[in-house]
Every structure is written in C-alpha cells, then in structure tokens.
C-alpha cells in the first residue's frame, strides 16, 4: 500500500497525525523566544594585560607585540587588533563565524601560557575576556528626581536595581548619574602644616577609631557574658571629636584641622532626562537570555517599583530594545497574514471552487506551523529571518498541493470515484511533486552551508525552507489526497451565484489562454527574433547594473540615536552640562512629540558603574541617548533625523569630536553603513597627516554625514618630575612621594562608615579650593620617616606634558581608522568616493590605505553568495537532469535564470533600492522558483511529444494547457511577497529589498519563460530531429552498403571457413 493510498484509506489517522504536528507546532510557538536576528555567536575574544607605569609605546613593544605574534597562530583567526595605551594593552581577536568559541578560548589560553615568560616581569598575567552582544544594554531606564537627588543612589539601589537584578535572566543592573554617598573629610592644608599632622596620620587614626572589637567572653558568677568594644561612629560628625595628634602638649582634634561633609562622591557622572537631573539605570542580560522577555518583565515591574519610591522620583524608559523588536515582528506577522490572504484569493480565483481552495489553503498553516517545531528543537527564535522565511514560503507551499489537486480533479471529471481519483491522481504526479520539491531543496540546502556573517542569517533560513518544503510535500502526498477524497465531488450543477461570479473570470482566463497560444504560435515561428530580443533585454538590464548602489545590510529604523560628543580634554563638567542642556532644549523643541525620551550623561563614571566605565568617559565627554517613537508613527526617517542632528552639532566649534550613531551604536547589523578606511603605517605623524587629509576630503563629499578618526589627540596632563637624588637626601623614595600627592588630591579611603547595613567610603583629602592650582600641588608637604616635612617643589617640578594617544594595531601593524558614516549614499558609493580621494593623494612611503569594515563584510558575503549561486545551479541542474533523464532539457529550463537576474536588477533599478544581502538572498531563491515554471512547461511538452504530437503542436498545446498553473504558482509567490515589498510597518526597510527582488525577478522571468523556454525547446528539438534524421540516413546508407558487401565483410562464411574472405581479398 502506497503512502497516499494509506492516507486515503485511513482518513482519521492521517488527520490526527497532522493535528498532532499542529499541536506540537503551536506548543513550540508558545515557547519560542522573540528576537530581531538569529542568535549570533560570540566571535571575539579580548586579551587584556596591564603593565603598570609603562607608556603606550612601551606597552606596544614589550607586551602587545609578543602577545600578537603568538596569538596570531590561533586557528580560525580573522583579524587581530590591539590598543596599547598607558598601563594597558588590549588585544582583540576576531574569529571566523561558526566556530566553537570555547575551543578557541582554550587555544588562546594555551598560547598565552607559552608566551607569558617573554612578558616583562612587572606585567600582570593576561586576562581573557569574551565579548558578546549580551553586553549591549537591553533596557535603559530614566530617573528624574528633585529633593531626593543626594540620596538617589541608595534609593535606586535598594528599591529599583536590586529587585530588577532578581528578574530571571538579568545580568547586571548599573546605576549611572546618581553619585554615591561619601563621607568627605576635607583637610585644611595650612592648619595641617602648622600642626605637623599629615593626611596619612589622619587616615590611620580614623581607621583605628572607627572599629568594633570583640573582647571575648568572661564569667560572672554563673553567667557568661560577651565583651565588646563598639567604636564605630554612629554619626559622621562624631569624627570631628577624635584626637589626631598633639601640638605643644595640647591635643589636636580633627575639628581643628578639617571639616566633615556627609555628601556625595566628588567626581561622578550626572544624568539628565528630558532636561531634568536624575539618573540612569542600565539593565544588561545574561548570556543566552531572551532580551524581549526580560524587557517585558522589567517593564511589568516598573509600576510596582514606582510605588516604593519617594514622590519626587519618577521612573521612565529611555531605551527598550524589546519595543522595536516586537513592533518589527508584529508588522512582519501582519505581512504574513496579508500574504496568506492574497494566496488564498489567487487559488480561489483560479480554481473557482471553495472546497478545492479550502483543501489547498489548509496546507499553508500546516507547513508553517510545523516549521516552528524545527525552530524550537534547534534553539531558534522568532526573528526577522525566520518570519521572512515564512512569508517567502507561503507562495511555495501551495504549489505541490495545487498540482495534486488539479490531477485529482481531472480524474474525477473523467468519472472516477473521488477515493480512487485521489489515489491514482496522486500516484501519477507524485514523482514530479517530489522532484520539484527537490529542486527547491537543492536551492535552500546549500544556504545552510554558508559561513561568515551572512551564514548566520542564511543558516536558519535554509533549514526552515527545507523543513517547510518537506512538510508541504508530505502533506500534498497524504493530507491533500485524503481531503480530496472526502471533500471533492463531481460538479454536476453550478449555483447561480457561482455562475455570475465566475463566468467573467473563466471567460477572461479562456481568452488569455487563446491569446497566449496565438503569441506562442508566432514566437515559435520567429525563433531568432525572440532569441535576440531576449538577449537584447538581458544586455539592457546589465546596463542598469551601473545605476544600482550596493550596501551590506539595510539600516534598521529602530528609533534610537546615540550621540557621543567630546570637548577638549580638561573642559569642566559644568561647561559640558551647559552645552548638553542647550542641545536638549533645541531638539525637544524641534521634534516635540516624535521624541520619546532624551537623556544625556556627563562626567567621570564611578568605579562600580560597570556599564559606564566600560565605555569612554570623562568630564569632557557627553553621551546622549535619544529614542524616537516607532518609525510608522513619525514622518521623518531616522537617517534624516541623524543628519539634522549632525548639522546642528557642526554649528558648535566647541566639540572636538562628534559622533551620531543611528541605532544607538556602531557595528553589527541594522546601523547606518560606514565606509571604513584603514591607514597602516608605523610613523605616527605620517599616518595622522594622511588620516586628517582623508577626513577633510571625505567631509567635502556629498552624502557623507560625518567622518571619525579613531586615533585620539595627544592628551595634555600634568606630571611631577621628582629628583631622585633630592628625594634620597630627604630620606624619601618616589613611591612615598607619589602616594603623598595622591592622598591629597585624589584622597585616601580611611575607613567605611556603616549605616543600615550599607557602608560608605570615608575619604580624607584637601579642601577642594586648596587643590585647584599648580602652586597647590607644588606646596604639598611630604613627610619622611623622621617626621620632617619637605615641599614638592623642593624635590621635583610640576610640568605640563602631552601623553601619547592610544596605539592601535591591526594584523600586527599600526593603524588609524577613518570612518565615514553615510547618509543618503550607498556603501559602494562611499567606498568609491574614498578610493578616488586616496588615489589622488600622495601617500608617503610605507603607508597603505585599505577599505575595511562592512565593505569588507559585504565583499566576503558577496563572494560567499557567488559560490553559493554556482553550487545551487549545479545542484538544480543535477536534480532536473535526473528527473528528465536528459542533459538538454535542464539546460533549456535554465535559460530562464539569467532573466530572473535581469528582473531583479531592473526592479532594484526602478525602485531605487540598493543591492544588499537581503536582495541577493531574493535572487538566489529565485533560481529555485523560476526553474519550477520551466519544469512544468517542459514536462508537459514532453508528454505531448510522447503522445505523438509534432514539435510545434506540442509546444503550443502544452503552453496553452500549462499557462494557468504557471500563472497561478507565480502569482501566489509574487502576491505572497507584495506585502513585504510595499510594507510600511516598523522594520519594513529591512525586508523590502527581498520582496522587491523576488517580485521583479519572478515577473520578468515568468513572462520570458512562457515565451523563451518553448522557443528554446523548439530550437533544440528541431536540431535534435535534424541530427536524428541525419544519423538515420547515415545508418541506412551504411546498412545498404553492408548488405551489398556482406560477403566481403563477414569473415564467417556459410561454409564455416575462417579467414577465407580475408585471404581472397588480399
């Protein structure tokens, strides 16, 4: 019993099997996490080595280089970049995608073990640090506060950060912008000197006074008591009464030489939200946790948290990555629903029977839902790729069912019983259904083998499509015949409504058939005209190629903008605040309701704010975080907004560096594309000059929003040069002297003040106004072991110096990167503009400029996709050749593929869409979809020929009879993609190129397939007949000759003598 016979005979089993699959699928769907992209594995490892006291170039020579040389031999390494700055060397290893990062980490560890003996003795052991997308904050909350500002850190830490950190999956919660409480002991420098009491003594005494000491236990009578001395301060002001020394026999109290301020940290970041001071709370997730889920949980918790806060503290959301993801996914789901609707309509119009439509359309949800099981098993997520894949599949999954249903209907119309018709009808087409699925799999399976960045995207798509296609074929061979046997009847009478509705459609379709047959008839008689005009069209479309721009990945309008501004080093934080407020007011006035939140932070981040301290910070650096309403609710695109902001920033000469980042950050997918130029060269001055020149030239180019140079300027700083001899004369050493300086300016942490289970630093240092000048530094008194004091200016000099910038290296060479952020210009154009500039430049010797960044990724993925296309073509050819058992027919069918590409090119050209990975993906899928049409046509032409028709008649008969199925499958695919191509929802810009490419390619190639494939068949078949005839004629001549000369040729005579004839002849 065959598969379909079994299915028809056991309808309950068949139905329940599919119901089970559906239930499993829906179960998986409920468990699937939602994300924007498929999981991208970490491919970066950082090696951080500290070497205290070494300058950038020392670090480069002694630490970075030996490490680089060894690490360079780790397998799968793509690039090795490093930053050598004072005290620290950071080496970043970037690996090829798709390798097990754990194995690589072990390799790196082994290599580090080998090299550690070559590092300087004082350097610390290198630390391995894996960087991943998990470090990107998923939710940023804003806090506005008035009178609670001073206590804000504690309030937020207790009432917000701790509860949030308890949410499943939340990694770290950091609070920035709210300074922590600190007990400051401000010493008066002059009084200290007068009493001869240094900061160090005060620090020690405070530490010794502020202690609880257990005294053990002692017995009194029958009882045992514990003994304790509680010396910890109950109130910071108690400190004023401790005695810190004696002067002329009289005790010196702390209050005589210092004041105690129960305040906040001196240097801390400040955060402003919508122009009001407050704080920021940054939530990062744990590795592998689902960001949308966490973001939702965090948001759900906010109202409860808000209730526990003082009335002036208000929580808000600055950035919520889940909003954009959910909106994008929602609009994609909407797209899918529209696609299903369109496909159902097409099927209904073409088949004209609701029962048939129901049977076919049941296959759609079934195959799609089944693919969720795959996603669940493979740890996938509902993301842009997997959902686009569903959208693409909708048009294709019905194809198999349509073929089966059509044939079953034919059988029923011929008089078979529906049950028999279902079995035999399916049996007849089973092989071709399987073959056409195999061609699709031949296209999609190789996608699972792509490596690199695009591999991450394509792997999931490839597997999903393979699963969906397989399920749809199985369903077409079991479920569809079963449904046919139950639902289909011989139509004996048609209702009036049906006649009214469908007569015009039927008539139109009939006329179309006739019209097409007539055109085809003309075409096969004018083969050369057709052939040359097709070639002409192809060449024309190639001409349009030059008008198409290219980019790596379309920018995603996530509604987020990140801005990083740098003022000259040393600018006071108040100035930075003033400028930021000015910008905030300006932008709030301009964007009004479009702007959901604007937040900025300035100042030095504290040590325990992990999030802020990872990024650059300082009193001169301003970080903006802006979020706009979703893209479909505002008129201006994010790119335009970014450009406007850049123009505003250009008006401020105060800023040394400005960087407006679309999407909140650089790198990765979905940001604005950047043309990166890497300048390799050892000489700082020469590379700096080249970078500056390139920057100024690039800034002149139209469509380039901003240009950033990676190397920062030399930073001014003050250094104290101690004279070692003088120090020694005074019985001091360098470390002691330097520590004295540090304790007075930066402060020394004496002890901790404890209150309500929390502890706060007690910091001892000079009064603020006594450490604001160089004289103050010079007058710092240093005491030696004998208690004799000497001033800094007597043992050293304070000088202003410029510290060298960070030394960046890539692939073991010094490098400067110039990044040009493109707005309104495609990546290819930006790179071309840059290359033109570089060509004109007179590069000094030993300096090389290379294009890198996303252009490099794009080139890599183009190469991958090119190889892939060839692989797919070969596989598709093999499948078709196997099906037709011929090498010629697949060749004829493949004639339509070039026109699919010309269709893609024309569509991109006309809609002004750049060529991106997404549109190329569309192009590759077309190979499979396009040949399907050809297969249908050629298959029927062959059938007609086998039934004894002549070439031209077969072609026309087949064309006429197959026009509708071809149009139907094409229309289902095209209309399935229309919602993608014209979608206006959030994130639509990401998949629009895919839709445009498929629609363009499929339309052009279908029209041409319908004409060119029959014509090409005629040409090949005509030649075939001609050659066959010639062969036959030759054979006949040979036969005649043989019969005539049989006696001479045959060695075996009737008499049986051997070699006789031969002898006679000779």
């Amino acid at each position: 019993m065959s598969l379909y016979e079994g299915a028809v005979k056991k309808p309950i089993m068949t139905t329940l099997c599919f119901v089970a699959v559906m239930i499993l699928g829906l179960f998986s769907l409920s468990k699937l996490p939602v994300d924007l992209y498929p999981d991208i594995d970490t491919n970066t490892i950082m090696v951080i080595t500290t070497y205290p006291g070494a300058s950038a170039s020392d670090i480069e020579n002694n630490v970075t280089r030996p490490l680089e040389n060894t690490l360079n031999s780790v397998e799968h390494l793509k690039h090795i970049t490093s930053q050598s700055r004072e005290n620290t060397s950071v080496i970043t290893l970037e690996f090829e995608y798709g390798n097990d990062i754990e194995v690589i980490t072990n390799d790196v560890r082994d290599k580090l073990g080998m090299v550690s003996s070559m590092l300087p003795d004082e350097s610390n052991t290198p630390i391995i640090f894996k960087f991943s997308t998990d470090m990107i904050p998923i939710v940023i909350l804003s806090v506005q506060a008035d009178e609670s500002q001073n206590a804000l850190y504690k309030i937020l830490d207790d009432n917000v950060a701790n509860p949030l950190a308890r949410i499943d999956g939340v990694g770290t919660v950091s609070i920035s912008g709210a300074p922590e409480r600190e007990i400051n002991v401000y010493m008066d420098a002059r009084k200290m000197e007068a009493y001869g009491i240094p900061v160090e003594t005060v620090t020690q005494i405070i530490a010794q006074e502020n202690k609880n000491v257990p005294g053990g236990s002692f017995d009194v009578g029958n009882n045992t008591y514990a003994l304790r001395v509680e010396g910890e301060f109950k109130d910071p002001q108690q400190m004023l009464n401790i005695i810190v020394g004696t002067h002329n026999g009289a005790p010196v109290y702390l209050r005589d030489i210092a004041r105690v301020v129960d305040g906040v940290q001196e240097r801390a970041q400040k955060a402003y939200n919508d122009g009001k001071q407050g704080a920021m709370i940054v939530v990062q997730k744990q590795t592998g946790a689902n960001s949308v889920q966490i973001a939702q949980d965090v948001k759900k918790m906010l109202p409860t948290l808000q209730k526990q806060l003082p009335s002036d503290v208000k929580l808000g959301v600055i950035t919520d990555t889940s909003d954009n993801i959910l909106n994008t996914i929602d609009s994609l789901v909407e797209t899918i629903l529209y696609a299903i609707l369109f496909v159902v309509l097409v099927v209904f119009v073409f088949l004209g029977r609701w029962r048939a439509t129901v049977i076919i359309c049941i296959t759609i949800p079934m195959s799609l839902i089944a693919s969720f099981i795959y996603l669940f098993v493979a740890d996938g997520s509902l993301n842009m790729i997997s959902l686009s894949c569903l959208s693409i599949a909708i048009g294709n999954v019905v194809d198999d069912a349509i073929v089966v249903l059509e044939n079953v209907t034919t059988h029923i119309e011929r008089g078979s019983d529906p049950k028999q018709a279902a079995v035999h009808g399916t049996n007849e087409v089973a092989i071709s259904v399987v073959a056409s699925t195999l061609t699709m799999i031949a296209v999609f399976f190789p996608l699972t083998m792509v490596t690199g960045m695009s591999g991450v995207l394509f792997k999931q798509l490839g597997w999903m499509m393979c699963v969906i296609m397989t399920i749809s074929t199985i369903s077409a061979l079991t479920f569809t015949p079963m449904m046919c046997s139950r639902l289909l009847r011989l139509q004996k009478k048609q209702s009036k409504l049906f006649l009214m509705l469908f007569t015009p459609i039927q008539k139109a379709l009939d006329r179309l058939d006739l019209w097409y047959a007539a055109r085809l008839d003309w075409g096969v008689r004018h083969r050369k005209t057709i052939l040359f005009s097709c070639i002409g069209l192809f060449v024309l479309s190639l001409g349009c190629c030059s008008g198409i721009q290219s980019e790596f990945f379309p920018a995603n309008d996530s509604g987020r903008v990140g801005i990083k501004l740098e003022l000259p080093v040393g600018t006071r934080v108040e100035e930075a605040e003033r400028l930021s407020m000015e910008l905030t007011d300006k932008w709030r006035a301009r964007y009004g309701k479009d702007m959901e939140a604007i937040n900025f932070k300035v100042g030095q981040a504290s040590d325990d704010d992990t999030y802020s301290s990872l990024s650059d910070n300082g009193s001169h650096i301003i970080d903006f975080n802006i979020s706009m309403v979703p893209s479909n609710e505002r008129e201006k695109g994010l790119e335009q907004i970014c450009d406007e902001m850049r123009a505003d920033l250009a008006q401020y000469p105060e800023f040394v560096k400005t960087d407006v980042m679309l999407g909140g950050g650089h790198g990765g997918m979905g940001g604005q594309s950047m043309a990166s130029f890497e300048i390799y060269g050892y000489d700082f001055d020469a590379t700096d000059r080249v970078a500056q020149q390139l920057k100024s030239e690039l800034e002149k180019v139209d469509g380039i929003g901003q240009v950033n140079i990676s190397r920062s300027d030399y930073q001014p700083e003050y250094q104290v040069d101690f004279d070692r001899e003088k120090l020694a004369l005074h019985g001091l050493n360098l470390t002691t002297a330097a520590t004295y300086l540090r304790n007075r300016i930066n402060g020394a942490t004496a002890s901790y003040y404890r209150e309500d289970g929390d502890e706060y630093d007690i910091k001892v240092r000079y009064e603020p106004n006594q450490r604001q000048s160089i004289e103050a530094l010079e007058n710092v008194m240093i005491y030696n072991a004998a208690g004799q004091g000497v001033r800094v200016k007597d043992v050293g000099t304070v000088v202003e110096r410029f510290s060298p910038p960070t030394i960046e290296r890539k692939d073991r060479e010094r490098i400067v990167t110039v990044d040009a952020v493109l707005s309104g210009k495609a990546l290819s154009e930006g790179v071309a503009a840059g290359n033109a500039i570089i060509e004109k430049m007179d590069l000094p010797q030993g300096i090389m400029v290379k294009v890198a960044g996303s252009y490099e990724d794009q080139q890599d993925s183009n190469k991958d996709l090119g190889t892939l296309a060839v692989l797919i073509l070969i596989l598709v050819f093999i499948v078709m050749a196997a099906q037709f058992e011929s090498m010629t027919y697949p060749f004829i069918i493949m004639f339509s593929i070039p026109f699919a590409f010309s269709g893609v090119i024309l569509a991109l050209f006309l809609s002004d869409t750049p060529l991106s990975v997404m549109s190329m993906l569309g192009g590759i899928m077309l190979i499979g979809i396009v040949v399907k049409n050809g297969i249908v046509l050629i298959d029927y032409i062959l059938l007609c020929r086998e039934r004894g028709m002549g070439i031209i008649r077969s072609v026309i008969t087949a064309g006429r009879s197959r026009l509708r199925p071809v149009l139907m499958t094409t229309l289902t695919t095209i209309l399935g993609m229309v919602p993608m191509a014209v979608g206006q929802g959030v994130g639509a810009e990401m998949w629009r190129p895919l839709g445009v490419a498929v629609i363009g390619g499929l339309t052009v190639s279908t029209v041409l397939t319908l004409i060119l494939v029959p014509v090409a068949y005629c040409m090949f078949a005509g030649n075939g007949v001609f050659f066959n005839r010639r062969k036959l004629k030759k054979q006949r001549a040979l036969n005649d000759y043989y019969l005539k000369h049989k006696d001479k040729m045959t060695r075996v005579k009737a008499s049986g003598k051997i070699h006789h004839g031969h002898e006679q002849e000779s």
Binding site: H411, R414, G415, S416, D417, K419, Q420, A421, H424, N427, E428, L942, L943, E946, R947
Partner: protein
C-alpha cells in the same frame, strides 16, 4: 458456464467488485496494474509519463443466465463515465474442476 473478461481503468476497481457481489458472482480472478489501450478511441493505459493511467482486469466465470444482467450493468457503467474505459468479453468455459 461462461467466462467474462472485464478490462477497465483501475478507478473502476471497487465498483466492479461491488457489482459482482450484487449479482451473486462470487468467483473471480483479478489482475491489477495491467496495461492496454482501446481499439477505437480508448486512451492508452501504460503507467508511463505520457500515459500515466493503468488498467485492471477481472476474469469471472458465471452461470449463463447471469451473463446478460452483468453485461448490461457494465455497459451502463461504461456509458456513464465514457472517458475512463471499460470493456467486457465473454467466452465459453469448456471444462472446469
């Protein structure tokens, strides 16, 4: 005793066995998936790419009086769905065991 050889499109399979049951013709021999084509209009049934459909054949040996009703019913069936194809041939049974 007459033997009737019925050849038909395999879609008739069940209906013909049903018919034999109805007319009390118990014994029969059936060949499934056989090939053939009609003399005049009958489409070839080869199970090939060009002619994918297949025939079945049934040989039944019945008493003489059952022959006519069976042939009538078969003829009726054939006329109802001409496109499938159904033929029956009758010949004598000389001996049997």
């Amino acid at each position: 005793m007459k033997s009737i050889m019925i050849t038909f499109d395999q879609a008739y399979n069940e209906r013909i066995v049903e018919l034999l049951d109805r007319l009390n013709c118990r014994g029969f021999t059936r060949w499934e998936q056989v090939q053939g084509r009609g003399t005049k209009k009958g489409e070839p049934h080869y199970g090939s790419h060009a002619w994918p459909s297949m025939c079945s054949a049934i040989m039944t040996v019945v008493d003489d009086h059952k022959v006519q009703p069976l042939l009538d019913k078969l003829h009726e069936m054939d006329q109802e769905t001409e496109m499938l194809g159904l033929r029956a041939f009758v010949w004598n049974v000389e001996q049997s065991i």
